[in-house]
């Protein structure tokens, strides 16, 4: 084996966690806590201290299930309804039942949540039906607190390594992963008994309206690598046609944010300053009403603060300009926008994959298991819908504990030298090319086509044209050139982005109905069709290596949903006054 591996570094892990943002640290921590004897390795493309969707902290929990405010059963019902019924309820319930314990554990670690004068958690209402939002006005330090716990637990952290392919054994189970260092281009081969994918959203799929590749809603380091890793390892992905599309501050492309402002009295308004939706919770139905308002004579759409008392606005600014996206204040100042006087212009984001706000992702069950033995997924890339930061923590914890148990009962699988050699060739190619295409140009072109052809509303002819263009660009990938290790990382990310674009197109064409409001709004099938499409769409790699789709029935509900409740999210619009 060693001569086959050439100069690559090889090491072994019991549990390998890919991604050190939100779910990943919890997965690594809980695997180690479950069995301190395990060798738990955490790979991070950036640096665990400041990485992933919560690199600069988070301004609140959007799905806290706190006794006295909500029960796990109510939460499961709310998300079932918000997601038009297409959910695997067991995974939702597994999250909801551990939600409060996780909040208490984070509280003990030093994460600060809003509490009332009695010291109880001060939960706010933003969702359509229940009460689940727990503000974190001092949530800037979350990553530092997580980092401290990882060090204490003696998790082995490898920063600046981008996982590029998973390795599988002859019987299909997981065998490990290959990673490339973004500073040295060193190739790392990791043998592992269990692998947990926590690589975040596909945030560089669509192109922001600004045209700036890095001006995305998601942390742009989240380039969809996890979806590509899972797909190529043979795992099933689900409901990828349920895109992430968010209402964001125009141009700045970050949240304004209704979850923070809403409980203080801010709301989404049209150009007349009037409400047009009852509820600002981010759902596909809400985004469809937002889209219609933009298209109407009453657009554009704004977030309205200017009716609030100055001290209330100061409090909101104290959160919005310090946590999650702290450069918001600078952006507003640059344009002379003052919440006291001006409404904040909002816009529709580029598309992405992210279960944090929608429902797509690598298919996982209630133990965070994917369809590949020994492979887990958690966080924004796993299929537990509307999961947000707290869901990433909880499902990361579930994945870590289950993976620890799995690795106890299994051996390291034998590596396939052919897989390693093929990946070496793929990852070395951009460095070997003396001339060719720089990654940023290829990426720009893919993402512009994503906007031109895949951004909803969806037209099948446009999707077919997109598939043709993507196939042409796939031929171009061999011409990608990298002058250093950093550019190599970008070139390899382009491979992930193209994989995600092709998956988004295939899944959207497969589901011949409209569902989830704007997320999957098809012009040729404008209605929901429960008879044919009350199911998940599973996407996978077929024997020829191509993308294939199939239906998966929705498992019988364990928490029943009343027929009268089912369409609650379809009735968001407030009829306009004349």
């Amino acid at each position: 084996m060693s001569q086959n591996l050439d100069t690559d570094s090889v090491f072994d892990a019991d549990v390998l966690v890919i991604g050190g943002g939100t779910a990943g640290p919890l997965a690594a921590y809980k695997a180690k806590a479950a069995n301190p004897a395990l060798r738990v390795v955490l790979l991070e493309k950036a640096n665990v201290k400041r990485s992933g969707a919560i690199a600069i902290g988070m301004d609140g929990l959007n799905n806290a299930v706190v006794p006295g405010f909500a029960t796990p059963e109510q939460y499961v019902r709310e998300i079932t309804i918000a997601n038009d019924g297409i959910v695997y309820q067991k995974a939702l319930l597994a999250y909801a039942e551990r939600s409060f314990d996780m909040i208490r554990e984070l509280d003990q670690w030093g994460v600060k949540f809003l509490k009332d004068e009695n010291g109880d958690f001060d939960v706010k209402k933003v969702h359509h039906l229940g009460t689940y939002v727990l503000p974190m006005p001092e949530g800037g330090s979350v990553k530092k607190i997580l980092y401290r716990q990882l060090r204490k637990a003696q998790v082995l952290i490898s920063n600046r390594f981008m996982a590029t392919r998973l390795l599988t054994a002859k019987d299909g189970r997981i065998a490990g992963a290959i990673a490339v260092n973004s500073r040295s281009a060193e190739l790392l081969v990791i043998r592992a008994k269990a692998v947990i994918l926590a690589a975040g959203a596909a945030g560089r799929l669509g192109l922001p309206a600004s045209g700036y590749l890095w001006g995305t809603y998601e942390n742009p380091a989240n380039s969809g690598d996890g979806y590509a890793l899972a797909f190529h390892a043979g795992a099933e992905l689900t409901n990828l046609e349920c895109f992430q599309i968010n209402p964001l501050i125009k141009d700045y492309n970050g949240p304004a944010c209704a979850y923070v402002g809403g409980p203080f009295g801010a709301y989404t308004a049209n150009s007349r300053g009037e409400r047009f939706i009852e509820c600002d919770y981010w759902s596909g139905q809400m985004m469809l009403e937002f889209y219609r308002e933009l298209q109407s004579g009453r657009g554009p759409v704004f977030l309205k603060f200017d009716h609030l008392a100055p001290e209330t606005i100061a409090e909101v600014e104290g959160i919005l300009h310090k946590v999650e996206r702290p450069s918001r204040g600078q952006f507003h100042a640059g344009r002379g926008t003052d919440y006291r006087r001006d409404m904040v212009e909002m816009h529709i984001s580029e598309i992405g994959f992210c279960s944090g706000h929608s429902a797509s992702g690598v298919w996982v069950d209630e133990f965070a298991c994917t369809t590949v033995a020994g492979l887990y997924a958690a966080g924004d890339m796993a299929s537990v819908p509307h999961n947000y930061m707290l869901g990433a923590f909880v499902n990361g914890a579930i994945a870590g504990e289950h993976a620890a148990e799995f690795s106890r009962d299994s051996d390291l699988a034998e590596l396939d030298p052919g897989q390693i050699e093929a990946e070496r060739q793929r990852t070395r190619a951009p460095l070997r090319n003396a001339t060719g295409l720089p990654a940023n140009q290829v990426e720009y072109k893919i993402r512009r086509f994503v906007n031109d052809y895949l951004q909803p509303p969806k037209s099948p002819r446009k999707y077919e044209i997109a598939q043709k263009r993507f196939a042409e660009i796939r031929d171009d990938l061999k011409r990608l050139v990298a002058r250093d290790a950093h550019e190599l990382m970008r070139a390899l990310e382009v491979h992930s982005i193209l994989d995600c674009a092709e998956m988004a197109a295939a899944a959207s064409l497969y589901r011949k109905e409209s569902r989830w409001g704007l997320y999957h709004h098809r012009l040729d099938y404008p209605e929901r069709d429960d008879d044919e499409w009350f199911c998940h769409v599973q996407l996978y790699k077929d024997a020829s290596g191509a993308i294939a789709c199939r239906k998966r029935a929705v498992d019988p509900y364990i928490i029943p949903v009343e027929t009268a409740e089912r369409d609650a999210y379809d009735r968001l619009r407030i009829l306009a006054r004349n």
Binding site: A55, T216, H486
Partner: protein, 77 residues
């Protein structure tokens, strides 16, 4: 290599008087999620090497000497 130069204004600026990278500090380089900062081999000071900024601010917030200023990239400003 046949790349054209494509100039753009860098959002991250470093005050060389305040920057202590030449004394071994690498905090801004470490905390950048996009890994766009480097220590310049000649000046020993931190600088932005790749135009891939998310204007997320850890470099500015975590710098021990307040040497860094991040502005919103011009295309978004």
């Amino acid at each position: 290599m046949s790349f054209a130069e494509n100039p753009s204004e860098f959002p991250v600026t470093v005050d060389p008087e305040k920057c202590i990278a030449d004394k071994g500090c690498t905090i801004c380089v470490d905390v950048c999620p996009l890994d766009v900062l480097r220590i310049h081999p000649e000046t020993g000071k931190a600088h932005m090497k790749y135009d891939e900024c998310w204007y997320c601010l850890p470099c500015e917030l975590d710098c021990p000497t307040q040497a860094i200023a991040v502005s919103i990239p011009y295309l978004l400003r």
